[in-house]
């Protein structure tokens, strides 16, 4: 078989700027590289000298699609540094805000960005001509998620209401109750979306991933839990850097996050689902069974079903939180600046997002470290590419290119997030 290089210069329908290169020599895939040409924005450097209270707003600007994830990891890490624990209704409101972000981010990806791959369209707008109902369902879901973020956060992109210790203003019961009917409708639309995506044609492909996600004693995870894996990892967020590291690989300048002992791992909806299936309400488990998904899913193409199931869960959870909500006495816990180190991990739509801050005694940031989900998945994405391409070499170049792009989109990569995740590929052949 001829030697060739398959190249996609600009991966469409992902957040941020990336490209991929696949090299085939003598009928074998010799390298699969995801190249990121997103310009670095140097957040960890510019955070130094800023006040602890500024971190949620500044780090939100890392990503316009998952700003709440940055705000949540930032506030939890700061509270860890300051020795504060936020509980009760404020804790519930944080979960509720995260529900909004999962709904809008997942609906965007499932329907607008990922579904066109399975049905053979360049985008959701073309797809809408023949699948108008499905696209409108996706847009309605996204609008519900965004609506929740607007009520609780003021706006859907870079919400203004989150602060270390809690919120600036907490909503009244009536304000939240206003969302109930819309969330109930959204829940039904999400169930229909699960059934719709489950009928997509899926390549027969599985890999033996090490899944990494948060695990809470009683809840499907958003803000809290131990970091666990399918191969026995079970640690606190404060132990993260002892087990994980960002490495430079020999052939490029990439920073790839790996498990020190074992290498690549997978974070995100599939990891959460596999490690927390027992915490999904029984009717959501039943829905998963009904569409042919067991408590384990190792086919990355089926992540589209898992995301849709998480949208159902997020709608249900939002309704539960709103139903139980009691207005708190204070919108935020009082805080006193002090020197210390704080660390936290929360579940961004795309997987665990780690923040660490070192503060001086007036609460100014001395050092910041942020590990976004997409840099944690980068190695796994390349391994998938290599495997998928190796099994698809009989495809024509165009079809192979499509399959490779789809393999990347399985991860819903968020390239702007990966602010210090950069790889310059050099093809020396």
């Amino acid at each position: 078989m001829a030697n060739k290089t398959i190249r996609v210069d600009y991966i469409a329908r992902v957040e941020g700027e990336g490209a991929l290169d696949l090299r085939i020599r003598d009928g074998r895939v010799t390298s699969a590289r995801l190249k990121i040409f997103e310009p670095p924005r140097l957040f960890e450097a510019l955070l130094r000298g800023r006040g602890f209270a500024e971190a949620p707003d500044i780090t939100a600007r890392i990503c316009g699609i998952c700003p709440v994830a940055y705000q949540m990891s930032a506030v939890h890490a700061m509270e860890d540094a300051l020795g504060v624990k936020v509980a009760g209704p404020l804790r519930g409101l944080r979960r509720l805000l995260y529900c909004g972000e999962w709904i809008e981010s997942h609906a965007l990806h499932v329907v607008m960005l990922h579904a066109p791959d399975f049905l053979g369209y360049p985008d959701a707008i073309q797809m809408a001509r023949e699948h108008g109902d499905a696209v409108r369902r996706g847009l309605a879901l996204k609008k519900t998620g965004n609506g929740l973020m607007r009520i609780l956060g003021g706006r859907e992109i870079h919400p203004v209401n989150v602060r270390v210790g809690g919120f600036y203003r907490t909503p009244s019961r009536a304000e939240l109750a206003f969302l109930t009917d819309d969330l109930k409708r959204a829940r039904d639309l999400a169930v229909e979306t699960v059934r719709w995506v489950a009928r997509f044609p899926f390549p027969n492909f599985e890999r033996d991933y090490e899944f990494v996600a948060l695990r809470h004693p009683d809840e499907y995870p958003f803000n809290e839990g131990r970091i666990v894996s399918s191969r026995g990892l079970d640690i606190l967020a404060r132990e993260y850097e002892a087990e994980f590291e960002e490495r430079h690989v020999a052939y490029s300048t990439a920073l790839q996050s790996v498990l020190k002992r074992r290498g690549s791992y997978l974070v995100g909806p599939m990891a959460r689902y596999n490690l927390n299936f027992d915490h999904l309400p029984s009717h959501v488990q039943t829905l998963a069974h009904e569409v042919g998904l067991g408590p384990e899913c190792r086919n990355p193409f089926q992540s589209v079903i898992v995301r849709a199931i998480e949208v159902v869960y997020a709608c249900d959870e939002a309704l539960r939180i709103i139903g139980a909500y009691q207005e708190p006495d204070m919108p935020a816990a009082p805080l006193e600046p002090r020197a210390g180190i704080g660390r936290a991990c929360t579940e961004a739509p795309r997987g665990i997002l780690y923040h660490r801050y070192q503060l001086n005694d007036d609460g100014s940031i001395l050092e910041a470290r942020i590990v976004p989900p997409t840099s944690q998945n980068q190695l796994s994405m390349e391994e998938d590419l290599c495997e998928v391409a190796s099994r698809s070499l009989d495809l024509a170049d165009d079809a192979l290119r499509d399959r490779c792009e789809q393999t990347i989109r399985n991860y819903d990569p968020c390239i702007s997030c990966s602010c210090h995740f950069l790889k310059l590929a050099v093809d020396r052949s």
Partner: protein, 258 residues
């Protein structure tokens, strides 16, 4: 009957968080109608179809931080009848313009283990520092209703209905109680309207994410902040955020301690 040619729209990304172009996809009720009215010729975040120029309207998100991007924006300009920039990155350099006040090599070394691999400019600059810009839409993020207004107005060749007054005016229009009167420092008096005066409606002072209004009196506001107990460092920090390199904010920040 021949169909009237639809105007061609392109959406470009430079150094940014993607939030401002996401605003277009966030127009859930209008998106399909927009796609009927215009040909979305280039919008990689949404479509694999990447049609070549020329374009009637280019919407540009993000700032210029690499020499490659400084070249790329010139190519975008050449292919575009109108070019509109959206968001604090494109109109003022964004939060990443904090490097403009520091040593960028030291910044890179703080983030990357092998800084020699990273090629980046010493500054983050707005698009208008590189090419002619037909209109700048402010905000971090922009207001999506204003984005629709900009697209419709440019493609219809009519005047824009977006004014340059301050957040304060919007608070008055909403009947919100002034947070400064209640002792909370607020950038509303010097900040460009457009967000709908959100922060005061959440009992929080405005933090200036829409950048300076036309002719702001930042010095007078800084005096009021001091009276409310803000330290010079507080004032320095609030002007040095998402629009730190916008001239009035840059200048005011320099009068206050780090």
């Amino acid at each position: 009957m021949s169909e009237k040619r639809r105007p061609r729209l392109a959406v470009w990304k430079f150094a940014s968080c993607d939030g401002c172009q996401l605003s277009l996809l966030d127009c859930e009720d209008e998106l399909l109608a927009v796609a009927d009215a215009v040909e979305i010729a280039y919008f990689p975040e949404a479509s694999r179809t990447m049609a070549k120029g020329p374009y009637d309207l280019s919407v540009v998100e993000g700032s210029i931080t690499t020499s490659h991007d400084a070249e790329r924006i010139r190519r975008v300009r050449r292919q575009s009848r109108y070019l509109v920039t959206i968001g604090a990155c494109a109109t003022a350099g964004g939060i990443q313009a904090l490097r403009n006040f520091a040593d960028v090599q030291e910044f890179v070394a703080a983030v990357y283990a092998s800084p020699q691999y990273i090629k980046t400019l010493a500054t983050s600059t707005p698009i208008s520092a590189h090419v002619r810009v037909d209109f700048e839409l402010h905000g971090c993020p922009i207001n999506k209703a204003q984005l629709l207004e900009v697209i419709s107005a440019f493609l219809a060749g009519r005047k824009l209905a977006i004014s340059g007054h301050s957040v304060c005016v919007d608070c008055k229009l909403h009947g919100s109680v002034c947070v400064m009167v209640q002792g909370t420092p607020c950038l509303g008096p010097v900040t460009h309207a457009g967000c709908g005066a959100l922060c005061p409606s959440f009992r929080r002072g405005c933090y200036g994410c829409f950048g300076p209004m036309e002719r702001p009196n930042t010095a007078a506001l800084a005096v009021e902040w001091r009276k409310l107990g803000a330290t010079p460092r507080d004032i320095w920090r609030v002007f040095r955020t998402f629009n730190a390199a916008a001239e009035p904010f840059r200048k005011e920040s320099e009068g206050h301690g780090e």
